[in-house]
């Protein structure tokens, strides 16, 4: 049994101890946000937050996240009541296929929580681990900047 605290709630999971966090979230907690992209920590589609850090959930064993707080995009808000970053992504229409977007939002969330006023360069460097193939980067960048500029603590 592994205990995972996800989006503020404890869950007891009977899963293989080597299971990456990604599969525990998707298949055992039925959270769709984190996506399988590469399984290698090269694309960021699976990004979630563990503590205050963005992590590749495809690489972190679920057992290693036990006793820590895990946050996924579902924890930031819903389609009806989006959180500040989610709302900014909707305002900027910052998605094409959108497969990378939940990971983008979680990585951006970690930046906004730890660096109050990131520069453009800091945003670009911070977001570098996450890939988008549709080329939506300019809008993702604008959405993050809009939240930074608003001063709202995301």
């Amino acid at each position: 049994m592994i205990t995972l605290n996800v989006n503020g709630k404890d869950h007891q999971l009977d899963i293989d101890p080597d299971m990456p966090l990604l599969y525990a979230l998707r298949n055992h907690l039925e959270l769709n946000g984190a996506k399988y992209g590469c399984g290698l920590g090269q694309c960021g589609a699976c990004t979630v937050m563990v503590g205050d850090k963005p992590v590749f959930s495809c690489l972190v064993p679920a057992a290693a996240a036990s006793g820590k707080t895990v946050r996924t995009v579902e924890g930031l808000g819903s389609a009806d009541k989006p959180g500040p970053l989610q709302a900014a992504f909707i305002d900027a229409q910052a998605a094409q296929c959108g497969y990378c977007i939940a990971g983008m939002i979680m990585r951006a969330q970690a930046l906004i929580e730890t660096v109050p006023h990131p520069s453009d360069e800091q945003i670009r460097e911070h977001m570098a681990p996450n890939l988008c193939r549709c080329g939506t980067h300019m809008r993702i960048f604008s959405a993050i900047k809009a939240v930074v500029a608003s001063g709202v603590k995301a």
């Binding site: 399984g39 989006p82 998605a95 296929c97 959108g98 497969y99 945003i123 670009r124 980067h137």
Partner: protein, 749 residues
């Protein structure tokens, strides 16, 4: 696509059996022509009514598009699918505009072989042109029939009636809903060639940005993708692929895999292998064990990547003459000859291909992110040996595909595995390395140019020899589904046939739109290839526009004329001239590059020479120490006819700029005789945030009342070419081998 006749016939039969359309088919006007007319459009559908607009040509019945009833209200159907470009929202806007209802009041369904019209593939920037045009007309005609029905019921003249929010309004305060008005209206009828007119200035939805329907769910963890599907009792599967094409399975220890925790079955058919488990992670572990214990024969060797452009000229091929006019061999006072090359590229979807399949009560249902549910259904039915009406393919969104990627093959995998697990739904997803090694690539290509100019700065001849492998290995038989090659009774792909001009294949946009009296253009279509290649966004237009616009810059320099001016003096199409002039003005052309290591480039193309127009100006600089290329500014003007959703158009153009920059600067599939090395993102680097253009400005030129021309691919070629021209200026020599800056420009061999 030019299908063989028997395949065409099968598709039509499938369609007729599927819907209610078989009833009365012979009783409607135009039915006689339908049987006589065997024309097939480029997306693999059959033209039944050549005089109708858009996809009404292939699906002429109004009720194939729109149904209205008590139970579901207004339902609108499209045979196209959402690939991440936002077309679902744009199509809904068109239908709502012409039905004169709110978009929210429409139940809008995309491709499903049990429900929607067969529009072939969602590809080639055809969606707005085909399906948008069909809905634009069908919706207006349905609304007119509802008006006429209400007029009859009330005994009022039809031209005194109006509609608002799904109601017909008459004199004396009379009103009825569309559902009431549809009583007594037969929507199962051929559309008319003419539709009620509506002046574009009265559009309230078309031409106005509407937020995309899918984005709120996608930013909040909604079940948006086929990857997110969960069916009751759903099992998880993974495939175990051979090391390369042609490898045969020699042996595998089946017991060691089937004894693993949670594993239900090793599916084995010839060299085809897949594991099925209760849990996804268990399936992945079993797959890994399978890769460890399976032994394979060597398979087909790969060529040496360094010689690929020579090899293209030596492989079995067919030569297609594209253009032959004037006196292409007459000597010209000025000219330029060069050879341009492009490497194999990957679609590189962020989400590896996925499908869910369920074989239940004799029917195989496949949820898939394919671009074409009908062609896929026929291919799968042939592969698994089921009658086509016992296979249903339903489109569910996946990760953006940008063309023919692993979607169809993954659906075939899910189908094969589901047939081995009857009664239980199975979800199959490829791993990253499986996507990279087995998706169809975009062809490596070679272009030889010989351009001549007279003494007054006018183009005199334009001669091109082009070598390419196929760009359209779509699913016209089971053999086009890669998993079928591995079966004990394998299938053989249909012979490769290029998409004909003017759409073109590898030769897409090989003919310059510029005014030129003499030209000889040939395509050598290589039919036996080291890699499977197929459609990737813009097909040959990426390299062909790059080549043409490189030559235009070279000729402008020889003529001593500004490159924008030079283009204008050799171009008469007024809409082409307008995007060029608009871009130049918005950019502030002419500008001098700020200093050494900087460059400014310009380019133009009309996609396929028949669709959207795009001109673009790019400023770059090169970091001297690292060779890193920085894109400082991009300005573009586009004309795609009547704009449906301005923000959606902008999003497509911005995305195309970034994606084309990635292809053009960095991308190539790495391989050597032992195998493909680009099995992950470290072996196939694409653009990341730090290399983003610093400034992108998109100017939209609207053409109210003009046809929808499509937007998704217009910028791929022009961005590549403008980048090439800017970078060539920055480094002081003409760059003709793509990618331009994978390891930094001065570090290139």
């Amino acid at each position: 696509m030019k299908n063989r006749h028997d395949e065409v016939d099968q598709g039509r039969r499938a369609f007729l059996i599927n819907g209610a359309l078989v009833v009365g088919f012979a009783m409607v006007p135009g039915a006689g022509r339908a049987f006589a007319d065997t024309e097939v459009d480029t997306l693999g559908t059959q033209v039944l009514a050549p005089d109708l607009p858009g996809s009404l040509r292939t699906n002429p019945f109004l009720d194939a598009w729109i149904r209205i009833d008590e139970k579901d209200g207004i339902t609108v159907y499209t045979g196209k699918v959402e690939l991440g470009t936002g077309v679902k929202t744009a199509l809904l806007q068109v239908a709502a505009e012409r039905l004169e209802v709110t978009p929210q009041s429409i139940r809008f369904l995309t491709a499903d072989t049990a429900l929607t019209p067969n529009e072939g593939y969602t590809a080639g920037s055809h969606t707005m042109f085909d399906s948008g045009t069909a809905l634009f007309n069908a919706a207006a005609q349905v609304r007119q029939l509802l008006l006429e029905s209400a007029a009859r019921q009330w005994g009022q003249p039809v031209d005194t009636l109006s509609t608002r929010d799904g109601n017909v309004l008459g004199r004396e305060g009379r009103s009825m809903t569309y559902v009431q008005a549809v009583a007594g209206v037969q929507l199962h009828r051929y559309a008319s060639a003419d539709s009620p007119k509506k002046s574009p200035e009265h559009f309230t939805l078309i031409g106005h940005s509407m937020p995309r329907l899918d984005i709120p769910g996608k930013v909040s963890g909604g079940a948006s993708y086929v990857q997110d599907m969960r069916l009751p009792g759903m099992l998880h599967a993974r495939v175990i692929r051979p090391p390369r094409r042609g490898s045969q399975l020699l042996e595998i220890d089946q017991a060691v895999i089937e004894q693993m925790n949670g594993v239900l079955k090793l599916v084995r058919d010839g060299s085809y292998l897949a594991v099925v488990a209760k849990d996804e992670w268990q399936a992945i572990k079993a797959m890994r064990k399978g890769y460890e214990v399976a032994r394979w024969s060597d398979g087909n060797p790969l060529p040496d990547a360094r010689n690929i452009h020579q090899l293209l000229t030596e492989l079995p091929s067919r030569r297609y003459p594209i253009t032959s006019k004037g006196t292409p061999d007459a000597p010209a006072p000025h000219g330029w000859k060069t050879k341009v090359t492009k490497q194999y590229l990957m679609h590189g979807s962020i989400g590896p291909s996925c499908s869910v399949a369920w074989f239940k009560d004799g029917v195989l249902t496949v949820w898939t992110h394919t671009q074409g549910v009908y062609p896929l259904r026929a291919g799968i039915a042939e592969m698994v040996g089921l009658p086509v009406q016992q296979v249903r393919c339903i489109h569910v969104e996946g990760s953006g595909c940008y063309g023919h990627n692993g979607a169809d093959d993954a659906a075939a995998d899910a189908a094969l595995i589901a047939m081995a697990m009857p009664g239980q739904p199975v979800r199959l997803q490829w791993m990253r390395e499986q996507e990279n090694l087995w998706e169809p690539y975009s062809s490596a290509m070679r272009v030889e140019l010989d351009v001549g100019m007279d003494g007054s700065g006018r183009l005199q001849h334009w001669n091109t020899e082009l070598w390419t492998t196929p760009h359209n290995e779509r699913i016209v038989n089971a053999g086009r589904l890669m998993p079928s090659w591995l079966l004990a009774r394998p299938f053989t792909p249909s012979p490769s046939v290029p998409i004909a001009q003017p759409e073109g294949d590898g030769d897409r946009n090989v003919v310059p739109l510029y005014d030129v009296a003499s030209s000889r253009i040939n395509m050598t279509f290589v039919t036996q290839m080291p890699f499977r290649t197929s459609a990737m966004r813009s097909l040959g237009a990426h390299i062909n526009v790059f080549s043409i616009e490189s030559a235009m810059d070279q000729m402008a320099a020889q003529a001593g004329v500004d490159p924008v001016q030079f283009r204008l003096q050799n171009l008469s199409d007024p809409r082409a001239r307008a995007v060029i002039e608009h871009t130049a003005k918005a950019f502030g052309w002419p500008q001098k590059a700020p200093g050494p290591g900087s460059g400014i480039g310009f380019a133009f193309a009309r996609y396929k020479n028949i669709m959207g127009y795009c001109a673009i100006a790019v400023q770059v600089h090169v970091q001297r120490q690292t060779g890193e290329v920085m894109i400082d500014r991009v300005v573009t003007a586009v004309d795609v006819g009547q704009i449906v959703t301005p923000d959606g158009l902008r999003n497509q153009v911005e995305g195309g700029i970034v994606q084309s920059a990635s292809w053009t600067l960095y991308e190539q599939v790495d391989y050597d005789p032992q195998g493909v090395r680009s099995y992950d993102w470290s072996g196939y680097p694409i653009i990341r945030f730090p290399a983003l253009p610093r400034q992108v400005e998109v100017e939209l030129i609207d053409q109210p009342g003009q046809p929808f021309l499509g937007a998704a691919e217009i910028v791929q070629g022009p961005m590549a070419a403008a980048l090439g021209n800017a970078l060539s200026q920055a480094v002081g020599r003409r760059l003709v081998d793509l990618p331009l800056a994978r390891r930094g420009w001065q570090l290139r061999e």
